[in-house]
């Protein structure tokens, strides 16, 4: 993975920069010794590691503002970091950039049940929000698999999803407001406890901007009442196509399940061996469909889903009888990644999204690719919204396998784009998919995105080396080329 060349002038000023940061954040908040910085050298995309220039852990918004203003004035790059659980290298350090950790912003500031929202600091974990409100029967809907560890600030940066987003939306659909600090140190608030924006929807833009536009210092999220009932249906099919058809038929019947997950035969085998969830080992495709809501509605929809599944040739059809069994049905799915980890030294997790109607074709083509690259692939995915998580099995100690795994992964993502899908459904571009952006976007598309970046960060100091395959200077991007004396296009109808 090629990162931008390090600036020797910045590296030479390392101790001066550390001292300047200490003047802003006193005490233990600045870390510049190698052992102290080691925990920050990577995020959850741990194949890539890099020590930062200095780590700074501010505790207040004025400190964040002063740090960014200092970095802007002295042209020092900044990598913001929440809990470091990014799967795409979004929080991976850069050698000539300070690492700005928001971990000390870990307080729930206000819970407003009457307006059904919570105001929290960005370092609060995703699950921490639900924990803070569940005694009153509320929860925060987006539930990425890393929810026990990932921070809400990171969720905003990545627009995190989870298994329930088909029905409840991603982070962007569950946010009401943020406070953020711009690279020039200015503090702005977007949204609040009310709905919609008075001007451009910068809150929507910030969500999923991967830490390239600003540093989030406060988050207001929407709270929902926990559904009174949830049941999971376990459906086994003799073919993957049967399972995929069933997914389409459920949605065509007007049912939006809380979650609808699919696993292929290998994933089922691994998960069953690991957790013993009672999955049918003969199924080529397994679906877990969760229905939630009022009890009568869940009963009604479960019956409909069973009916549809049987019409589509389901050979296993089991409805969770109680909460314990529902959790057990999910346990295998939730443990699928570590379960696969039991049968391979390493695996690479991908994250493309495709139109649901193309699932079967994409799975078949992936098998072909698997043969071509000589590596196994196991599939676990959010079938309801077409978000695939193929796991490529390899051994990182074999350099040829690592290279082949990377090529295989790139081929899968190209396939996703080719069938009308996208490179990443929920993990983000980061460094991982950066160099594939050209598969989905033209240079003009990317230039337009970079111009938006320039509106926030004209010197490209925030989270450099991420998302964009090649950076163009803002001055160059800003130039308008005007061709005077052109014909005023006489062939277009005028009145």
């Amino acid at each position: 993975m090629q990162m931008p060349p390090l600036d020797p002038a910045i590296l030479a000023r390392r101790s001066e920069i550390a001292a300047a940061l200490r003047a802003i954040v006193p005490g233990e908040g600045v870390i510049d010794d190698l052992d102290g910085m080691r925990p920050y050298e990577c995020d959850a995309l741990s194949a890539y590691r890099q020590m930062p220039l200095v780590v700074v852990l501010p505790e207040t918004v004025p400190q964040v503002s002063a740090i960014l203003r200092y970095c802007q004035d002295h042209k020092v790059k900044v990598v913001p970091r929440g809990a470091g659980t990014s799967l795409s290298g979004g929080a991976m350090p850069v050698g000539d950039a300070i690492l700005l950790g928001l971990g000390k912003f870990n307080r729930v500031l206000e819970i407003d049940y009457a307006n059904r929202c919570a105001r929290v600091q960005p370092g609060v974990t995703n699950l921490g929000i639900t924990k803070a409100v569940e005694q009153e029967g509320f929860y925060y809907a987006p539930d990425p698999s890393s929810q026990i560890a990932c921070s809400i600030g990171g969720n905003v940066a990545e627009n995190s999803g989870g298994v329930h987003c088909l029905k409840y939306g991603l982070t962007t659909n569950n946010l009401l407001g943020i406070e953020m600090v711009l690279m020039n140190g200015e503090v702005v608030r977007l949204g609040g406890k009310h709905l919609d924006s008075e001007g451009y929807d910068l809150l929507g833009l910030m969500t999923g901007s991967e830490g390239l536009l600003g540093v989030v210092t406060e988050v207001t999220v929407r709270l929902l009442r926990k559904p009174s009932t949830a049941r999971a249906v376990l459906l086994g099919f003799p073919t993957e196509a049967g399972a995929a058809d069933c997914v389409a038929a459920v949605i065509a019947a007007g049912i939006i399940p809380g979650g609808m997950e699919m696993m292929d035969k290998d994933a089922v085998k691994c998960a069953e061996a690991y957790v013993g969830a009672g999955y049918p080992l003969d199924a080529e495709g397994l679906l877990i469909v969760e229905l939630d809501g009022p009890e009568v509605e869940v009963d009604h929809l479960v019956a409909r889903v069973e009916e549809i599944a049987k019409e589509r040739g389901a050979t296993t059809c089991r409805v969770s009888r109680d909460e314990q069994e529902r959790v057990l049905f999910w346990a295998g799915r939730k443990a699928a990644f570590p379960a696969v980890g039991q049968i391979t030294p390493d695996y690479m997790c991908l994250d493309g999204s495709v139109p649901r109607g193309r699932l079967v074709e994409v799975l078949a083509e992936m098998r072909q690719m698997s043969k071509k690259h000589g590596l196994r692939v196991v599939n676990v995915f959010h079938a309801g919204d077409g978000n695939l998580h193929p796991l490529i099995l390899f051994d990182a100690n074999d350099p040829s396998e690592l290279r082949r795994a990377e090529e295989f992964g790139a081929d899968i993502l190209r396939l996703c784009v080719r069938v009308g899908g996208v490179l990443t459904g929920e993990h983000g571009v980061g460094i991982e998919k950066r160099d594939l952006m050209g598969e989905q976007f033209s240079d003009i598309d990317l230039d337009q995105q970079m111009r938006v970046k320039c509106a926030f960060d004209p010197d490209h100091l925030l989270n450099p080396g991420k998302v964009f395959p090649k950076l163009r200077r803002c001055a160059e991007l800003g130039r308008v080329v005007v061709h005077h004396n052109k014909l005023p296009f006489p062939d277009i109808p005028r009145f």
């Binding site: 307006n115 009310h194 008075e198 833009l205 969500t207 009022p294 139109p355 459904g425 976007f441």
Partner: protein, 389 residues
Amino acid sequence: MAGTIRPRDAKELRQAVEWALNDGVTLDVRGQGSKLALGKPMHCDQVLDLSGIAGIVDYAPEELVVTLRAGTPLREVEALLAQRNQMLAFEPPDLGPLLGQAAGQGTLVGALMGNLAGPRRLSVGAARDHLLGFSGINGRGEAFKSGGRVMKNVTGYDLSKLAAGSWGTLAVLDEVSVKVLPAPDQTRTLLLLGLPDEVAVKAMGAAMGSSHDVSGAAHVDGRTALRLEGVAPSVEARLKGLRDLLATTDTKMEELATLESRAFWREVRDVMPLKAEADAIVWKISCPPTQGPGVVARIKTQRPTACAFYDWSGGLIWLALPASDDADHLLVRGALGSAGGHATLIRAPKSVRAAVPVFHPQPPALAALAKRVKESFDPERIFNPGRMG
């Protein structure tokens, strides 16, 4: 009087923008022009009429997505979706009659450009939450795209969010992909009668905070309406649950069945219940739901003849004020106080809209940022210049 240019496809659209850019021509970008009376009055050199770039490109009901061109009438899209029992869940309003025009006009892309949503905004999100992707022309005359046709997509910046609610000031869209949802089998409404505003907003809050999946909560003329949608047995059970939750010894309740319910919520969506004289000023105020009654009360102490009704559980106030030269903008915005929110001047004579900020003024740092974002798309300010003032 400005001339009109009416491209027939994306290529002609790009040529038109390129020409405008080269000749320093500003463009009044419109679909059917149904919302021309909304926003800051503009003085453009040319009208860019998108009604010639119309039609459904692709509709995949099982994918929950429809792709269509910018000039496609909203009514046409809704009729198409209804055939497959689907809908635009955000309930784009028809503001035509409120703005002194005929009903049934407007394009879906026009509704997206205003980020306009109806009562279901509360439960399923705004127009912006349903725009999956688009292609269009920026103010440099370049064709670009963002987003896609799939539900889950975090590839690159989410420019769809910026486009929605930009009132055509960032780029001219030629094609959009929009998320659709199954239409509910049944719609029922529980009405609580005679509650004062404060009590009504508390009741709506309790309903929204319950597990009964309320998809509309409005307070209109002493009637507090709670909408339940879905399959019949579920709607029945939730209706009973809501009644039990909200029952007090002296609260009178009534129910509206499916057809009456649909008519009622269509009227709320289109701001019909607002008792506004023909020359009255109309404001749309978004605030934290519990603050709604306080905001209205503060305005009424100064303007006792003001009328208002609430949607979005109290968080949306439609307000009518007697005609004035300044639309009482300081009073209205001042009434929001420190609780946060914003007020948009929806209806006022041109001279009034020219004189006062139509969109809620932003703090300087935010306004400067928004200006830089505008310039990143349209550096020469050729698209709808000044409309969002």
